[in-house]
Subunit: 626 residues, 2 copies
């Protein structure tokens, strides 16, 4: 069938424009119903409520996108924060002529790029969504990039559900977007009244949303989400926003367009069966399947890329202890000339994580994210989707705040090129007590598909590993320590993802102690202690916890009687389990020293002793075994 593309421009006048949008909206509603009925599951009603809003956006002349080049730097961005409305998303691109109807019919089938919730398997999706309350922070990152970094004219639109406004992450993003005056960011709030199991907290009270969002510093436009007149007018107004992001609060009907679905509870996440589908089509008809909608092309402005430069060498004095968190800050400054796509974010603790060292040198590439970690991770994902390399830092413990955002970013695959730096790891932070101690961060970051987990023990290895992290495409976690630790490595030493360092080794080694970060120093002290008694141990600095250096571990397992892991982290999911999993198929004894008692306030050394992860505990354990 030859497709007839309906122009996006205003030539046809307002009436012609609206007639066109009505036709396209019918086609899109047809696609939504056909594909979900074929799939036998999915979210038709949540798609139908936003159909007019999205048809008006893409085909009404405000949205600019080169449909043949989803990577065009000036394409406007569209994020479905309500990722379950994926049938609508796919149908929009079908209506734009970029998906065949038969491809649409693979929705939710194994191997299809059209997944149940929008994922990057479909090339018009930048970031995978489906866990609610995550789209706005991602959009914020993209808008921040356009306004302050790439200085490009593209605009970012985020479709939001009303249920998901209950998520705190939304309000984190709202406040930060307002703080940064992101007038290139538009939220479209689809107030369809009904959540999954019934009415939302505010039902159809669009003013309640309007008041809240305005109080967070946004311009708000309240409209009927099924009136193309009001929809087009609202988008037109967002183009003239100044210093404020804009939220279009749209009153809509869930299931709009099909009488027996409209505003009915009990239809969330349910596909129509064949009879219901036939009935629905009768109501929709006539649908003109020969039409397609045109989307306006963006301009060709380019951002000015900085030229790559060489970096300085690492230079630390061997006799002066330096905290790895400080080396992290130093490294950011050192490597930025080589990685000009770097952007640094911090959650209001830059003077503790030492990202402030970067902020002082490159203030235009540092963004304060305040104490709102979920939004920080989402923003980083948005920046990463636009080609940046975000380095984001807070206390290791507080990244747990954003585990859902971290978890979701793995599904954006290589679009999630985020480097997480968690400081204040473990009980070795001392007096501040358990709330501030990262003791489950290794477990959390290991449980992310294709992640890299690094845990340097001194300033030199930190510098080198931060650089490796910047080179690597994907999610990297770097764990740093609060207190100063002695320099162990020469400035020229080489570190790689998946590597380790054997710091003590002899033919007489009876036991291997595997440590990382702060416990490397305890293991070395244990070596010295035992050497006095003519007992020799092998000491491995396992700075790369994921991937792990299996070869070196296996060699140690063969050559020594047993392995002992020592970590300033809870036992579960930590270094011990990483080592055991690496050696799983080779029967090996791996003893674990880890944080096993309720942590508390005290001096770092008191706490390392108390938790039995100090030199003393290592020596004691070795004597027990041999």
């Amino acid at each position: 069938m030859d497709m007839k593309f309906l122009k996006s421009s205003d030539e046809m006048g307002n009436k012609g424009q609206i007639e066109k949008l009505e036709k396209l909206a019918k086609l899109i509603r047809y696609f939504i119903l056909a594909s979900t009925t074929e799939a036998g599951s999915g979210h038709p009603t949540s798609s139908l409520s936003a159909t007019d809003l999205m048809t008006g956006l893409l085909f009404g002349g405000s949205f600019k996108f080169d449909v043949n080049n989803p990577d065009h730097q000036n394409n406007d961005r569209l994020i479905f924060s309500k990722g379950h409305a994926s049938p609508l998303f796919y149908s929009l691109w079908a209506a734009a002529g970029k998906l065949e109807e038969k491809e649409l019919m693979t929705l939710r089938k194994f191997g299809s790029p059209l997944e149940g919730h929008t994922t990057v398997a479909f090339p018009y999706v930048d970031a995978s969504t489906g866990s609610l309350g995550q789209g706005l922070p991602i959009g914020l990152g993209m808008a921040l990039n356009a306004k302050y970094i790439d200085k490009l004219p593209y605009r970012t639109y985020v479709l939001l559900g009303d249920s998901e406004m209950a998520e705190g992450s939304q309000w984190e993003a709202l406040q930060v977007a307002s703080h940064y005056k992101l007038d290139n960011l538009v939220g479209i709030l689809d107030v369809n009244r009904l959540g999954q199991r019934g009415e939302t907290m505010y039902g159809h009270d669009v003013d309640a949303y309007g008041r809240r969002v305005s109080s967070f510093g946004w311009d708000t436009i309240i409209i009927d989400g099924h009136s193309f007149d009001e929809i087009l007018d609202a988008y037109e107004r967002t183009l003239h926003a100044s210093d404020k992001p804009v939220m279009i609060v749209a009153k809509t009907i869930k299931g709009k367009g099909v009488s027996f679905l409209e505003d009915k509870n009990g239809w969330h996440g349910k596909a129509l069966n064949k009879e219901e589908y036939t009935q629905a089509l009768k109501e929709l008809n006539p649908v003109d399947k020969s039409i397609r909608g045109e989307i306006l092309r963006p301009g060709d402005q380019k951002s000015i890329k900085q030229v790559d430069r060489d970096v300085q060498e690492v230079a630390y004095r061997m006799d002066k202890a330096v905290a790895t968190r400080k080396a992290y800050g130093n490294a950011l400054v050192r490597i930025f000339p080589k990685f000009p796509d770097m952007v640094v974010l911090d959650a209001e603790v830059s003077n503790s994580t030492y990202s402030e060292i970067f902020k002082e040198k490159y203030p235009e590439r540092f963004f304060e994210m305040y104490i709102a970690e979920q939004n920080m991770v989402g923003t980083a994902l948005g920046l990463s989707c636009r080609g940046k390399i975000p380095f984001i830092s807070t206390f290791a413990a507080f990244f747990t705040r954003a585990f859902d955002q971290i978890r979701m970013s793995q599904y954006s695959d290589t679009n999630a090129n985020i480097k997480f730096a968690g400081s204040h790891a473990g009980v070795s932070i001392g007096e501040d007590g358990p709330s501030q101690m990262g003791l489950e961060d290794i477990a959390m970051f290991r449980a992310v598909l294709n992640s890299v987990v690094l845990y340097p023990s001194d300033a030199v290895s930190t510098e080198k590993l931060v650089e490796e992290a910047a080179k690597h495409i994907g999610i990297v976690y770097i764990r740093t320590t609060r207190k100063d630790t002695p320099i162990l490595y020469h400035d020229k030493e080489h570190f790689v993802i998946g590597g380790s360092k054997v710091l003590q080794k002899s033919d007489e080694d009876i036991i291997t102690v595997i440590a990382a970060g702060v416990t490397v120093h305890e293991a070395l002290a244990a070596y010295e202690e035992l050497k006095k008694e003519n007992t020799f141990i092998r000491v491995i600095d396992l700075y790369s916890i994921k991937p792990v250096d299996e070869r070196t571990l296996r060699e140690a397992a063969k050559e020594t009687k047993a392995l002992i892991t020592v970590e300033d982290h809870f036992l579960e999911g930590g270094i011990g389990e990483a080592v055991r999993s690496a050696l799983a198929e080779h029967a090996t004894s791996v003893y674990s020293l880890a944080v096993k008692k309720m942590p508390k306030s005290g001096k770092p050394q008191e706490l390392l002793d108390y938790e039995e992860i100090s030199m003393k505990a290592i020596v004691k354990k070795i004597k027990e075994i041999i």
Copy 2:
């Protein structure tokens, strides 16, 4: 020294009252400075800004508390959401005569109950804080309990910092508290302008906070946080709140009372040295160390406790498959008569988690928490602090949203008697795709100190384990499955925390397959398949993943050639690693089948095959090994 207790009543008239509060505030400021200087670290300036607010609360006549009985059911509750102001918290109780000055001087020392951030080691603390943005949800739980469950007159006060208002969890709590019309909940927002590394987003703009909080449905009272007149008036007004929670927004000065600290950046989290301390004392003097403040006693109203009753027996037909998530809902209803302290919360997915079965039967004990998981966990902690047994449910994946709240609850020790039920675990959910799949939930909950992790495979074991969870005091995670699974156990079968079931066993077993939940059925199918070829395997249902049944595992390790774990979860931190850790010191080969590839949409069985955790994959792996 004999202490002179200053009365809390109004007998002395307004002028006398204020003079008294001024004297007590001086004493408290002295305690704050003395204890932090002695500790050499801590947060004096963040304590000083809130000193007048808290002195006015405790000793101004609004707050009711039996100081000799912190467990009195009618004691007003006080939560320091800004847990770093712990020197103030301890000093308040010293000023109430419940801590000696020399005890105060143990602040932050190893073994002292006075930790760097408020923890339950100190008996006047209900819930440990220190990760910001967590106090209000906890207070909400306590207020919810007072108003709707115990129907007691106690009131709940939460001291909030201005920096932490950036956390989304605050806004989750604000909206839900307003939704439930909690007029017995009072927030006290200490707007001291300065965060850790500089000014907050809104500085001293108290109206910005006022507008936002009001738009979320709270009454707000804006005051000068150092005027006892205004402070006392504000508390008096909160006593007359009706159907709305109240937020006192107080403009304060960080470091108030010591000129060289006042409103100065760079003093966050720093103690004074000896010289600075001497200088500060000069400004404070005279301090009357002989006085103490009286706190009014509460009344003696009691809540009406329901009488325990027997529960019905479990009854499932062996020939009808039932989803474990559904059995979870059934179990809640069945066991409630035996555990009348149960309260059920859900994050807007009760028709998926099946907590709706409970809601229908006991609507007065069910609270809709909407899509705001962080607040749900905090609320549960608050309820638990008041003696309730909260069962809280959402998709397993979405508990990651609240990892920081889960992590923090472990530090409230047995006060965190929370039962988490995560449904839709693993790739076996099918078409909805990765965003909805819980694949790191076992890793997350295992990495919680003293947690219990249960993963039943059929309806009967689910029922029994939900009952065990209710009996157990502490954090329990129950993982359920979306799809129907066959009944494996007779109604009388016995299940215990730390147990397992050997489902297939013979003298000819060559390999042991260890499974849990949905993979138990795959393992049993593999058993049948291999039996045809006269190959016998042992099959263990490891329904208790933490603690784990070491004895049975060790026996299997001895009696069969190798162990294979099979789990619908990522490899890291999951069942395989739990088994390996249990057997760590006994060299054993433990092969692991787990989710290792990027998950996607598809039919449950397609996905189990794709991830190689199905019957086929088990058979294949066994053939490889033998």
